[in-house]
């Protein structure tokens, strides 16, 4: 089995629920670029700023790093650039507009200009839509689900997110203990 297949098989066994696009990026080793002069490749500067705010609202900074710290929006730009076909890219960018549409309808402001509570209101509306949404082909997930899924995988595959303390980071190589009490760890793992 090569790595891609091995991961696919475990992803099934572990019951991953990533969208197809997020899963192929994860398995393909997608990584956010950390350079200080980073420019988005597929997103426009404005779309990139919008996405950074959406990702942060999904995974906000608490006592552990947030999505902005983990550069999740850069991860998504990378994913769109290298793991999405042109028609899926188009679908994603088109669907992204809904965040500003809903914000303007409700608060007469763009999403990036909303307060944290207002952002949560918009996410709540879209999360409800996503829960009722049916994606028969697996090709057109609801935009909220697509972003949430990619934000989570971008977060945990970044060094900042993996080592940030939300879950316990397990580097390679390391020991193996087959049976311990959950309480001695108290949280999930992130594998390196």
């Amino acid at each position: 089995m090569d790595r891609r297949e091995a991961l696919k098989a475990t992803s099934l066994i572990l019951g991953y629920s990533l969208t197809a696009g997020a899963a192929s990026a994860l398995l393909g080793g997608c990584k956010a670029q950390t350079s200080s002069d980073w420019q988005p490749q597929t997103l426009s500067a404005q779309q990139s700023d919008l996405l950074a705010e959406i990702c942060e609202a999904i995974l906000p900074k608490t006592d552990t790093p947030g999505a902005k710290d983990a550069l999740c929006h850069r991860y998504i730009d990378e994913m769109l650039t290298h793991f999405y076909k042109p028609e899926k890219q188009k679908y994603f960018l088109e669907a992204l507009k809904i965040f500003d549409e809903k914000s303007k309808a409700k608060y007469s402001k763009a999403f990036v200009a909303l307060s944290p509570t207002e952002k949560e209101e918009i996410l709540e509306i879209l999360a409800k839509e996503a829960a009722d949404y049916k994606d028969e082909t697996g090709e057109k997930p609801h935009i909220f689900r697509a972003i949430k899924s990619a934000t989570i995988s971008g977060y945990f595959t970044s060094e900042v997110g993996a080592k940030g303390g939300l879950c316990e980071f397990l580097p390679v190589p390391g020991p193996y203990k087959g049976c311990i009490d959950y309480s001695t760890v108290g949280k999930g793992y992130v594998l390196s």
Binding site: I13, G15, L18, L59, T62, A127, R145, Y176, Y182, L191
Partner: protein, 310 residues
Amino acid sequence: MTIRPFSIVTEIILDETGKKAKGVRIVDAETNETKEYYAKVVFLCASAFGSAQILLNSTSERFPNGFGNDSGELGHNVMDHHFRLGAHGKSDEFKDKFYKGRRPTGIYIPRFRNLDTKTKMPNFIRGYGYQGGGSREGWGRYIAEAEYGKALKDSLSQNGDWTFGITAFGECLPYHENKITLNKDVKDIYGLPTLTMDAEWKTNELEMRKDMMSAAAEMLEAADLKDVRTFDYGCNPGLGIHEMGTARMGLDPKTSVLNRWNQIHAVPNVFVTDGAFMTSAGCVNPSLTYMAFTARAVNFAVEELKKQNL
């Protein structure tokens, strides 16, 4: 002993008698020079397809269709394991139990179909085994859409239920039509003709796959797992990366390329000791079998050299 790296074998050279190999011809990968090396015995182990490629490319008046290919079986009977299907399920138990690190091994369920009259299957012959394991769901598990923000982070920080899954690996029968052939029109950078692959699963494999998937679910349900789901990602020959069978062994030189000691029937000082010699694929990972046969063939060759039979 001298090991000569950067040597791409292009051909095995037949001697004047037509009954022995004289040595090999190589292309130096760095200088592109052609060289010949001579030996009493040649062990060919360039992998199942690599060895067949070299043999098919080694033609002479005696062997116009490939070295030692009197039977016409060289490059045929390509086999691989078919897999990528099985089942997985969840358990609500043992929530207080966990593990740490990466489990170095999995579980294995050996073949249980078509072993005797009691286990005989109506729709296929031979069988399959399962490889699998258990773990707790991590951050990639399904979390309700409604969760985002701090609540999502809280959920992500905790592990989910225990899950357990098994993936089936099935045997593929040897079919003469499943073959690799040389494509002289497309050569690699060393001038070796590339291989064209032409192989498919047939009824026996496809019937077996139905049982591979449903028996997996049946077992997990019997083991009291909940939410048992089957999966079948589809599988083409080649995905199993256990290719074999392209210079098969046999007692009859009319239907096989190698004899029981991995020697080419008509040229006994050439031994082929990789997956090419396999006559059937079984359903287990193949490398230990290749290694055991190789050790056995080497031992035989040494004994024969001592007796001056080679």
